[in-house]
């Protein structure tokens, strides 16, 4: 990555982490659009509990942190960093795998072309 793009990623990550830590604790707690419709149309009761309800960060709060806003802010920070880590590692891996595959393809094509020319 060019030097300044690295700064862009670091700066962007700081913005994202700042929003997740310091703004998300003040976000609206009202039901979102789908939840509102499910309540109004009376099918909210069909929602099942989440399989990972026991997760230490379930419901965007860190279990054991007493202050709700601190808990939400920490959960936001953890989620933002985990998403960045998973995303950049996954994208890096698939791009490298693709580059290897196409390099292999080019070698095979070159070898074939060589055979065709000599034959």
């Amino acid at each position: 990555m060019r030097r300044e793009a690295r700064y862009f990623v670091i700066g962007g990550l700081l913005v994202a982490a700042g929003l997740a830590m310091f703004v998300s604790p003040f976000a609206s707690g009202s039901p979102d659009g789908l939840e509102r419709v499910s309540i109004d149309q009376r099918f909210d009761g069909t929602a099942a509990g989440h399989a990972l309800e026991g997760s230490p960060v379930a419901g965007y709060g860190v279990r054991g942190v007493g202050n709700d806003r601190v808990s939400a802010g920490l959960a936001g920070l953890v989620g933002t960093l985990v998403t960045f880590g998973v995303g950049s590692i996954l994208f890096g891996a698939v791009v490298r795998a693709n580059a290897r595959r196409s390099a292999g393809g080019r070698r095979a094509a070159a070898a074939e072309a060589g055979v065709a020319e000599s034959g």
């Binding site: 707690g29 979102d32 659009g33 149309q41 099918f43 989620g79 590692i89 996954l90 994208f91």
Partner: protein, 229 residues
């Protein structure tokens, strides 16, 4: 917009999951072809930014909130296929936070990744074509397409619910309610998307996939040609 477990029956969820898995596999392949390895952290940043901003629920009506989906935002920044992968990563991480059902993960990636991301990107491309070729047009097209993408995703949910919903809700009532509230949420989606794309265009226009081909990138030394590919 995150579907919990229980709203849509197992068969429909599984069918949507299989379809989405295919779409995600194709998107991974296409994203891997179009991105450079140096862009991997950038795509990771887009996913992280969407995770963060999805936490910022804003009020849209009495007792109702909405939050960014980010499909069009991701698609305009890193391309539609990478956007699908970004949304899949975001939704996967959100499952650890007990947000969005596990059996509904395929449905959620379908609605917020494939429909909002790729569908929304097609809307973006169409709007961009009829606007003057300026940076402001890219931001405007991104904002409009983002707003429309939320409505598309809400319509997709309605379609899925009609097929496999576990309660008997009349189609007209459900569609009207879903589209009605998501038009309001779409306004927020559009404003956030246009502002974010606009900010990136001011700082690093060369990093905006949706601005490719426009000569609005500030004069810079040409990159060394013919190095790769």
């Amino acid at each position: 917009m995150h579907i919990p477990d229980g709203f849509i029956n197992a068969a429909t969820s599984a069918g949507a999951g299989a379809f989405t898995a295919g779409g995600l596999w194709y998107s991974v392949r296409r994203a891997a072809e179009t991105l450079h390895e140096r862009q991997a952290p950038l795509a990771g940043l887009v996913a992280a930014f969407i995770f963060a901003v999805q936490m910022l629920n804003f009020p849209v009506a009495a007792g109702t909130s909405g939050h960014l989906i980010g499909g069009v935002l991701a698609a305009v920044l890193v391309g539609p296929y990478a956007a699908v992968v970004c949304l899949a990563v975001v939704l996967g991480v959100q499952a650890l936070f007990a947000d969005g059902g596990l059996t509904a993960l395929g449905l959620n990636v379908l609605n917020m990744g494939l429909v909002a991301g790729i569908g929304g990107y097609l809307v973006f491309a169409g709007i961009k074509r009829v606007l003057p070729k300026t940076a402001a047009s890219v931001s405007l097209a991104a904002g409009l397409a983002a707003g429309i993408s939320v409505v598309l995703a809400s319509a997709a949910f309605t379609f899925e619910y009609v097929i496999g919903g576990t309660a008997d809700i009349p189609l007209g009532a459900l569609l009207g309610a879903m589209v009605g509230v998501h038009v309001l949420i779409g306004v927020g989606e559009g404003v956030i998307t246009a502002m974010t794309v606009g900010a990136v265009l001011r700082v690093r226009p060369d990093l905006v996939h949706g601005a490719r081909g426009l000569t609005l990138v500030r004069a810079e030394p040409a990159p060394v040609a013919g190095g790769q590919s």
